[in-house]
Assembly symmetry: C2
Homo-oligomer: 259 residues x 2
């Protein structure tokens, strides 16, 4: 339902302020009259009205039914979904692609990490949770508002498209892939993340250029998808930030070849 | 209450098997009679009995009240808490210290990451959530059972002790610290993590040897504590795994000094 509505809910003073700052299309704002005298809320409502959107007082009980948070927020905004198309990220040099991430919290954390690590966008393939699910929006902590997010696209179409626009497709897998630090993340590339439990479907193997693995030191069997995304996205950022990519990648290769 | 009981609950066939594999002190196992004919459950119960612990059939309704999961599990074990003392991790070369991590899911994910990145143990200072909280145990995915966990110790005592045993105290902070890739993680050290919202208390500043920051590329304000722990712990692992730490750290320093 939410996918077709073209709007999503942003909860709380901080995130609504972030939406305004990001120039998001705010359709309406609802607020708790009991919080109407709080200076931060008053100023926020004034900014919303100045921007041409309407503000509505709502009883606490009604606000709680709209909101998804455990702790009711004094301000809630209805924001037009800032959906991006594949074409709009066609000049990206680093994308994160979620093929089948099911947990909204994980998905939101992946968006937040991609943003913090300097990715140019995130692609949510059909099968992955809705990126504008309230839980996802909350876990993304504002990053859904300023990072291009493409969603509801077929995974196979995306993988074909990535090759066409010259992005190397690096698929995360729990074991058996190339050690992530010996992978060259400085080339235009896309990190492709699979399902929390089952990883990437084998049917996509032929459309992945290299499988990437985080070697585990302890007896832990795996990292969860957002922990893995943190390690991989920030390795990409580290390598890309490196003044001496040639020396850097040599060192990384030697490290990666260690048993 | 749980802290004084000296026992915690492990839920599900996989985690109970992990507890047996880790040689944990299993006090009792409860199972759903409806699952008593499932081969994996039958074999597991036999292993428990062979180990000298008792197994009890329990009605689904009762099991659900003991269990904490949304999806009821067919097997639940009561396991003696494998608490470690500071002295038992006195020869560690890499520890993770949680000063004030409040969310049980974050805390468990930190334990799982520390284990996967090869840390020698995790210290939960008083103020941090109970590491044997069911949600923490679940998020740690078995790592509470084989990584030494010290808990309920005073943060100041821990920081003094770290200096005494020669571990460099590296405190994570959202901004303003040394870029994490220019920090030498190959020396004996401890990553010190603060509160999700407020970070490390300023009162501990004098007991931190270096503050460490993950530079953000996007407009994201910060990473959540478990994402940050992923990046930092795996940078430590990467550097420690590196065949050529001198070249590696030179490159890292140059990278870290980039604007």
């Amino acid at each position: 339902v939410r996918r077709s509505e073209g709007a999503f809910v942003v909860e709380g003073t901080k995130l609504v302020t972030g939406a305004l700052d990001a120039g998001a299309a705010i359709e309406a704002v609802f607020f708790d009259p009991a919080a109407g005298a709080v200076p931060t809320v008053t100023m926020l409502l004034q900014r919303v009205e100045d921007g041409g959107a309407r503000v509505f007082p709502l009883g606490q009980g009604v606000l709680e039914r709209i909101a998804d948070t455990v702790t009711p927020q004094p301000v809630i905004a209805i924001v037009g979904t800032p959906r991006a198309s594949l074409d709009s990220v066609g000049t990206a040099t680093f994308l994160v692609v979620c093929v089948d991430v099911r947990d909204p919290g994980n998905a939101g954390t992946v968006i937040r990490i991609a943003d913090a690590a300097g990715a140019d966008g995130v692609v949510f393939c059909a099968g992955t949770v809705d990126p504008f699910n309230p839980k996802t929006v909350r876990a993304a902590a504002g990053s859904v508002l300023h990072l291009p997010i493409v969603d509801d696209v077929d995974a196979r179409d995306v993988l074909v498209w990535l090759a066409q626009v010259g992005l190397r497709r690096l698929g995360a897998m729990p074991r058996g892939g190339t050690a992530y630090e010996s992978v060259d993340w400085t080339v235009p590339c896309a990190l492709v993340l699979g399902n929390e439990a089952s990883g990437l479907p084998a049917s996509l193997d032929g459309m992945i250029d290299d499988h990437v693995t985080i070697p585990m030191a302890g007896r832990a069997e795996s990292l969860n998808v957002s922990s893995a995304a943190s390690v991989l996205c920030f390795e990409a950022r580290r390598q890309r930030n490196n003044l001496h990519p040639v020396i850097g990648s040599t060192v990384a290769n030697e490290a990666g070849n260690r048993p």
